[in-house]
Symmetry: C6
Subunit: 71 residues, 6 copies
């Protein structure tokens, strides 16, 4: 019994696109940390970011301040 | 199945107006960052801000402290 | 379809009174910012504060720490 | 149509007792501010604190870290 | 009409055990404060900690980062 | 009457896998603390981390910024 992601929302869809395209993103967190990597998956609570060494980091949505494609 | 934005609320409507008019806004974030740009869209979780180089930043509402038209 | 403000609650009513009376208030925010101005409107998510130059600032409730009439 | 405070909960009841007894309390806030005063009322979203000059401050629950009777 | 604590959850049960056993705990808070004491009660919103002078502090769950038995 | 963990979600499942495998993880918290240890259990509100001395720490999910397997 799993709540579905609201895939009609622009924010969810853009993260889906960034995931599918393997776009490198910057993620600013509430602690002021800035993570860089590719998004592997998202669910209601978290996003998973893969860094250059292919290491995963599970980031809680509640701690995300902003996300943008790396320039 | 998407929850609708409550477009009857002043805060949602004013952001709609600022988006449509392409007004430049300042967005103060919980990390003390101050973003400047135009609002491209809003949904329940996020606002998308476009900077002077036309780069998008997806900002989580949970991290927004205040928003005002740039003076 | 808009959720109504719970106007039976003291906090909502006192903000209504401060708004109607045009009382100058201080708003302490989670970033430690202190905003001063008059309240123009409130909804479920935000308060709008007007400063001395008649400029509006939309403040998210989630970021409000306290509010008091300016001494 | 107002949601009732859950007066069966210890936290709500103890704040009711402190309010009725006019006990002076210390309120530690997420910004590290420490407010001192008597509680005038509580609702679901806020507590109202009265300081020594009889000035009210409306404090959002979301910003409260702890509360204790002043030693 | 009071929402019950979900006593089937490990986190609720372990706090019940620590309360019953009078175990001294450390509570790290979002402001970086570290409280030490025994847990007197918990409800949905708060935990009550008693310090060495038998003074109670009502701590909001929203501000708790972690809790551990004092070493 | 206990709300079930949504075990269909990637974030819940990956934490289940890390728990079962006894993988050492790093947990970054909103206070900027970095905890290291093995996950003993998770529920809706908390994760329990066991350190090298076999001491448990109950961490509130609300305070988690990110989690990753220790490199």
């Amino acid at each position: 019994m799993t709540t579905e992601l609201e895939t009609g929302l622009p924010s969810i869809r853009q993260i889906q696109t960034l995931t599918r395209d393997g776009t490198e993103v910057e993620l600013k967190l509430s602690t002021n940390d800035l993570l860089t990597g590719k998004i592997r998956w998202q669910d209601q609570y978290c996003l998973c970011i893969i860094d250059h060494y292919d290491q995963p980091t599970i980031v809680w949505r509640q701690a995300i301040v902003y996300l943008k494609p790396k320039a």
